[in-house]
Amino acid sequence: MTPTVNLSPGARRALLLAPALIFLAVFFVMPLVDNSARSFIGEGGFTLSRYTDFLTDSFYLGVIAETVILSAAVTLISVLIAYPVAYVLVRKAGRFSGLMIFFLIAPLLTSIIMRTFGWQVLFARRGLVNQWLVTDLGLLDAPLRWLNTPGLAIAALVHVLVPFAVLSIASVLQGVDRRLEEGALMLGASRIRTFFEVTLPLTVDGIGTGAILVFMIANGSFVTLVLLGGGFQTLPLLIYQQFNTTRDFALASTMSTILLVIALACLWLQLRLLRRQGV
């Protein structure tokens, strides 16, 4: 007898999928469920009081709003910057496209600490940017305070996230049938009108995918805000503070559950968009 293993398709499937599924069920789903469960358990058993307290407290409502608004602002800026760059990458770059992709991906591989360090050096009181503005260009009389301003924190977040937007938009732009644009041009539409009425609508899905991706990562990021300041009060930042100093773990669990719900909503939107694209 040769030891041929003739497994039924069902058994084969189970054998191949089970390790990864079980691992993630135990070490990814269960911790998240356990964490959320903690926010529903009070002294007398099940309670919704943490959520009713949280969602009626104007400070915490402000925190949720600030989290969403900051992420939305970062997303909007990233997409606006990313579109022209993606357009150049796909349509104009030619032999430079490899180089452009390299310089888009290389920053993705640098640590968040390195980038933050770079921002701190560039925008220090006696840093390079102030030196340019005051001494070299003479645009300002005195150096500006950049660090710990909301603007710099947003710029740093955009720096982290904009490559994702460029790559998402570029991949959809690549699939646009050029003949549709040529047709519009031949029929007498101007280049600008062709762009706004043909190219842009055809790439809306790419913008959507990129935007959701950026929004999702922005929503969970806190290291940039911890190191560069900016005075933001966002959910991840508050979770970090609760863990570090206040140590109100039930409150931290409540906040992580709310953050998780936002993330799940984004994931759901993302899947709907991807399905529409037929990926």
Binding site: N35, I81, I112, I113, S256
Partner: protein, 263 residues
């Protein structure tokens, strides 16, 4: 060249200056002679690279991070490759749902994964240990392996494997002699990505900090809170060098564009 083209190129170049400047500045500062982190630098020296090796927490955490990256990557391959092989050939609706589930750690906020896992693993008795770190890092590295291996395997025509089996090869032989060599680039690229993700991770590792389990990014963060000297720049430069070498290798193995397009 049209005016609009010139405008587009100017914008693109400005964009890349914005992307590269903060990173380039750190690379230059890592070679400074001065005792402080400022740009431009007064003179060149390698002393901050030497400083890395004098400061024990850097070296200890570097070793922890390297080991952690290797363990999480090996675990991700063992768990992820079989799943990827199955899912890339499955066509049913629930296979798509399972793929989504297996990739979902990428979409969840890291800080929540870290915070939740700390409590859960402590309740299980793993506590703050290397094992706990390895488990959580595997959770966040697994999607990268599954994504890259599936992408490569989907492009492999099933005919190769069918031919081997028609010619009498067993499933195991077919896997070893046909499938494995064909998906090797995907495994290599996925592993590199997984390693870099683990090596670079701060938001999850942060929750598992202790003298024995501090990873390099955690130690760097703590160091930055007290000192602002160029040794952080030197470490970052080394890290970037490692990542760029890995990127070039991955490009040779797999093609750079395929790694980033969201799937």
């Amino acid at each position: 060249m049209r005016l609009s083209d010139i405008a587009l190129w100017v914008f693109t170049i400005a964009f890349f200056v914005f992307m590269i400047l903060p990173i380039a500045v750190v690379v230059v500062i890592s070679f400074t002679e001065a005792g402080y982190a400022a740009f431009p630098i007064p003179g060149w020296s390698l002393k901050w690279f030497a400083r890395i090796f004098e400061y024990e927490p850097f070296i200890d955490s570097l070793i922890t991070s390297l080991w952690l990256g290797v363990v999480a990557t090996v675990a991700s391959c063992l768990l992820g490759i079989p799943a990827a092989l199955y899912l890339s050939r499955a066509r049913s609706g629930w296979a798509t749902a399972i793929t989504t589930f297996l990739l979902s750690p990428l979409s969840m906020p890291m800080i929540v994964i870290g915070f939740a896992s700390l409590f859960f693993l402590s309740a299980l008795g793993f506590g703050v240990s290397f094992l706990s770190l390895a488990i959580v890092h595997t959770v966040i590295c697994l999607p990268y392996v599954i994504r890259t291996v599936s992408a490569v395997y989907r492009a492999v025509p099933p005919a190769y494997e069918e031919a081997a089996m028609i010619l009498g090869a067993s499933r195991l032989t077919t896997f070893r002699e046909v499938t494995l060599p064909l998906i090797r680039p995907g495994i290599a690229a996925g592993s590199l990505f997984s390693f870099l993700t683990s090596f670079d991770n701060l938001p999850v590792s942060y929750f598992f900090g202790s003298a024995q389990t501090n990873t390099l990014p955690v130690v760097m963060l703590a160091y930055m809170e007290h000192q602002f000297d160029p040794s952080i720049a030197a470490l970052s430069t080394l890290q970037l060098l490692l990542a760029v070498v890995a990127l070039v290798v991955a490009d040779r193995l797999y093609g750079i564009e395929k790694m980033t397009v969201a799937t």
